[in-house]
């Protein structure tokens, strides 16, 4: 792959690249931050990055939201509705995971008095 081709590809798939970057940022947050809430924020960033990736993959240049109604002709271009349906599910799942994680953190804090991973390790 030549340099110019690389840049071309980076350019056209810019959304994907951003999504992957966010994924790594989330992973970094998850690994490096000692605070459990921050760790979980990292996880949320990872989730979001994948939603971005999925929803980008359904995009079509100049496409409209896939709602049939007034102002829609036979030549109207619609974006792909499947990714949108998928990320709706994904968001719900992410929210549920977050809810559980937060409640676990509440319990942990009640029991141990800290949310710092390093300190929790010592407590054990």
């Amino acid at each position: 792959m030549s340099v110019s081709e690389l840049f071309y590809k980076l350019n056209v798939n810019f959304n994907y690249v951003v999504a992957m970057t966010l994924f790594i940022i989330g992973l970094y947050t998850l690994i490096s931050k000692p605070n459990l809430i921050k760790k979980f924020m990292g996880l949320n960033i990872m989730e979001t990055s994948i939603f971005l990736f999925i929803v980008s993959s359904g995009a079509i240049a100049g496409g409209k939201a896939p709602i049939f109604g007034e102002g829609v002709g036979p030549e109207t271009v619609f974006v792909n509705p499947i990714p949108q349906a998928l990320i709706l599910t994904g968001i719900v799942v992410a929210m549920s995971t977050t809810a559980l994680a937060l409640s676990l953190m509440i319990k942990l804090y009640e029991q141990c008095g800290t949310l710092n991973a390093d300190k929790l390790k010592e407590l054990k």
Partner: protein, 510 residues
């Protein structure tokens, strides 16, 4: 009847789902009623799953189009040979729910009882759904259902460390789910479809690109975390040891197997069927890691004093067996992987039974004595002979001593590894097995060949509702060892179809 059998797979999921959702409603005034409800639901689901499995083995796989939409457009339930694991899930589910009756009343507050049974049913719902779906995204959704309920079940008691164990499991589990989702997203981008068999077809049509490999890697990482393979096993010991015992039995017996089912679905259901991408590098790598996993799990188990901790580490070791068995695959000659595949699949089955027995026995002992350290449990075998007898049978079985169930798996995996030219894996497995036996003999020594210590002199046998599942499972450890052809009759066609051979395939030499 045929019409009914056609609906059975989906009815299984729906039964668990509706049962779970209705549990808080039916037990609003009388919390203890939730047990009877959950037990009833699990029996109903057992009925459906036996019907579905019966139909599978008489008439072949069931393809069920949800909403009547043909596969690439709608979601398909594909009840094939891999899905027959649902039968195991429903049987074990029913037994474990029966076991929970006394155990959980003792362990958690009464107001939480319906919550417990709801979560168990949801866990089963997720596992069953995961095993029967033919759609990648649906797979992810069910994976989340079962993972979430799994995390919460660990933390359901008030014990101090459970929340931490659960959180650790949750973080690793969530990352692995992310990996699976990312894999689905990448594959969707490459193929433009979510249906598994359609994905396999479409993979052939396009030139293989790096994205497909990456998706495979992400799937493998994701599912291996769920299956607790080395080096991503760190969440397992705490989670499985600290959870209430019936939950440990569910988690160790079934939930980690879900990761294996996922691997089978992806590697064999999509990539092998697609045939365009050579995945043997990945499976080879998996196999080597599995060999390490066997040793690592066995090694660490050796140093534990807590009986449930020992069982938890041994689960890691056994997951190594299974993954070793299913990684023995050659891209061009599928029949070379047959024996290993049979071994891996039968170990899914046998390990589920054996490990559930072990955890349930440990639970019964903890329920009666309140102790979980081996040093406190000396001589307990004289006080609880049936429980400890069952524990011994299961221990022998997991160490692979013939003629128990565990031996069959060891035999097939070793044979498969040798036939595949991977003597070292077989050697690792055998060394691991010796370690396993060494630490189980430690348990048997402590419970049978020592004089009872002061605090356990008053202990007597566990209640009947706990003994029934324990005895049934322990007997099946023996029966499936001696009459190994029973599970093999089910597993051989499964192994053959996974490898793309006809279901009636017979390896050379019989």
């Amino acid at each position: 009847m045929a019409e009914f059998a056609h609906h059975c797979p989906v009815l299984m999921v729906i039964t668990f789902l509706a049962g779970a959702v209705l549990t808080p409603i039916v037990s609003k005034s009388k919390k203890k009623f939730s047990f009877w409800w959950a037990f009833f639901v699990s029996l109903l689901a057992l009925l459906f799953s036996s019907c579905a499995v019966w139909s599978l083995y008489t008439k072949g796989p069931i393809s069920y189009w949800l909403g009547g939409w043909e596969p690439p457009y709608g979601i398909e339930i594909y009840f094939d040979y891999i899905s027959s694991i649902t039968f195991l899930m429903t049987v074990l589910g029913a037994l474990i729910i029966l076991y929970s009756k006394k155990y959980i009343e003792h362990d958690i507050k009464e107001e939480k009882l319906p919550v417990y049974y709801t979560l168990v049913l949801l866990l089963l719902c997720g596992m069953v759904g995961f095993s029967i779906t033919g759609d990648m995204f649906n797979l992810y959704v069910f994976l989340e259902i079962l993972s979430l309920s799994g995390y919460a079940l660990i933390a359901i008691t008030e014990e101090k460390l459970t929340a931490m164990a659960s959180f650790k499991y949750l973080v690793m589990g969530a990352v692995s789910s992310m990996c699976v989702l990312a894999g689905v997203a990448l594959l969707y981008n490459v193929t433009g479809t979510l249906n598994m068999s359609d994905m396999a077809l479409r993979l052939q049509q396009f030139e293989p690109i790096a994205t497909s490999y990456m998706a495979l890697c992400l799937f493998v990482v994701g599912f291996c975390v769920k299956a607790a393979m080395f080096p991503v096993h760190v969440w397992l010991p705490d989670a499985h040891a600290l959870a209430p015992s019936p939950v440990s039995a569910l988690l160790s017996g079934l939930v980690i197997k879900v990761g294996i089912v996922g691997l089978l679905r992806v590697i064999y259901g999509i990539y092998r069927l697609g045939g365009a991408i050579d995945f043997t590098t990945v499976t080879n790598f998996m196999g080597w890691l599995a060999a390490i996993t066997v040793l690592v799990g066995a090694f660490f188990a050796f140093f534990q004093d807590d009986i449930k901790m020992i069982f938890a580490y041994s689960s890691i070791s056994n997951i190594g067996y299974i993954i070793m068995g299913i990684s023995l695959i050659s891209f061009t000659q599928p029949e070379r992987g047959y024996l290993g595949m049979v071994g891996g699949l039968i170990h899914i089955f046998n390990h589920a039974i054996i490990k559930s027995t072990l955890f349930l026995c440990a639970g019964a002992i903890i329920y009666k004595t309140g102790f979980r350290k081996l040093s406190d449990l000396r001589g307990i075998g004289k006080k609880m002979p049936i429980t400890c007898g069952a524990l011994t049978i299961a221990a022998l079985s997991i160490a692979g001593i013939p003629p128990t169930a565990g031996f069959i798996c060891k035999w097939f995996i070793v044979l498969g590894a040798i036939e595949f030219g991977r003597g070292i894996w077989a050697a690792a497995l055998l060394i691991g097995a010796i370690f396993v036996f060494a630490y189980y003999i430690k348990i048997v020594n402590a419970i049978f060949f020592r004089e009872p210590a002061e605090p356990i002199l008053e202990v007597d046998e566990a209640p009947l509702s706990m003994l029934i599942p324990i005895v049934i499972l322990a007997i099946s450890c023996l029966v499936f060892g001696v009459f190994a052809y029973l599970p093999l009759a089910v597993i051989k066609p499964a192994a053959a179809t996974i490898l793309g051979l006809p279901p009636t395939y017979i390896p050379p030499g019989g």
